[in-house]
């Protein structure tokens, strides 16, 4: 009996089916738990899924590469999903036209602050080059951040985790910072949260109101593009060998 199970496991562990199914099951369990906990930002479904899957692979002694053979089908969809971000961005075009100057200046200031402060702090505290390059694009949505990390010599999978942790930080502490500096304009509130903490922050900004949510979504899309252009240029300029 146990030998039968053993041989079934050996067979399944070598097919893409297991990695793909495990990813979908873990994500849906994590989402159910997150809803149960009142959508608490600390119980972020992505974070929970990663913990569950990493635990599962460690316990069963499965290599990440074997898992990824199956999970790559989900991973591949990041490309078309990034392209699809043009749709919500297009919906904000009227708001974008009205506050174009404020949006543009705040975008460049925020995008540069995010990358320079993260890399600067980590560098001052002695982080390695790979870590610095993985941190630089941390404030933008994962598909873009991973693409940028790959391009500048970071570790895309480390970046994916740093991006998620950044999103959770912004969602949890964003309103506290805004209160501290006494910014009450919902456009500015939403835009700031979106620039610093992408989609996870945008989910939080939506709870503040419709205007804050829309500007956060706009900021997330714009900062994706700004970071994809700014960060490789800044890196080429600062770290030129």
């Amino acid at each position: 009996m146990t030998e039968d199970l053993q041989s079934i496991w050996v067979y399944l562990a070598a097919t893409p089916l297991l990695g793909l199914t495990a990813t979908l099951v873990a994500y849906q369990l994590a989402q159910a738990l997150w809803r149960r906990l009142g959508m608490n930002p600390l119980a972020n479904p992505v974070l929970l899924s990663i913990l569950v899957l990493a635990g599962f692979l460690t316990v069963t002694g499965t290599e990440y590469r074997t898992y990824f053979d199956g999970a790559q089908f989900v991973h591949f969809l990041l490309g078309p999903a990034t392209v699809a971000l043009a749709i919500p961005l297009y919906r904000q075009i009227a708001a974008l036209r009205r506050s174009a100057l404020a949006v543009l200046v705040a975008l460049v200031a925020g995008s540069a602050t995010a990358a320079v402060s993260a890399v600067g702090i980590a560098w001052a505290l002695g982080a390695s080059h790979g870590t610095l390059m993985s941190l630089a694009p941390k404030s933008v949505t994962t598909p873009i951040a991973m693409g940028v990390a790959e391009q500048i010599g970071g570790l895309p999978s480390l970046t994916a985790v740093l991006v998620i942790l950044t999103g959770i930080t912004g969602a949890v502490a964003g309103t506290w910072v805004l209160g501290l500096i006494r910014v009450r304009d919902p456009q500015a509130q939403g835009f700031a949260i979106g620039v610093a903490s992408h989609g996870i922050g945008t989910a939080r900004a939506l709870q503040l109101g419709e205007v804050a949510g829309a500007f956060s979504g706009l900021a997330m899309g714009l900062n994706g593009v700004a970071t994809a252009i700014l960060v490789p240029l800044l890196v080429g300029w600062v770290f030129r060998p």
Partner: protein, 112 residues
């Protein structure tokens, strides 16, 4: 439906080709996003079928991060070694970015 799924892939492919040929320091899918955005502006609206495909993809956007995120298990050693610079940079940089962006935007917005 199939047409718009194909359209997204064509935009991504075109983005990849443009980025490589022009030597742009930008990921291909981001260029693909700009191409689609320009297309929507030219067309002056989002076709409802494209809207459905886009919503389906983006409503499960966070699922798509999971496979790459699990890759953290191969970097556990690195994170353990550099936990202080990593966590200090993440937290401080995120809070400073929110403050700077909000402040600049509010200051410019107040002008007539």
């Amino acid at each position: 439906m199939l047409f718009y799924i194909t359209l997204l892939l064509v935009c991504q492919l075109a983005g990849e080709v443009v980025a490589r040929m022009a030597g742009l320091p930008v990921p291909g899918p981001v260029v693909g996003m700009v191409i689609l955005f320009v297309g929507l502006v030219v067309k002056g609206g989002v076709p409802s079928e494209l809207e459905r495909v886009g919503t389906a993809l983006l409503s499960h956007l966070s699922l798509l991060f999971v496979p790459a995120g699990v890759g953290v298990m191969i970097h556990l050693g690195l994170i353990a070694d550099e936990w202080l610079p990593i966590s200090a940079a993440l937290i401080a940089s995120t809070l400073v970015t929110i403050a700077v962006t909000a402040w600049v935007m509010a200051a410019l917005g107040r002008r007539p």
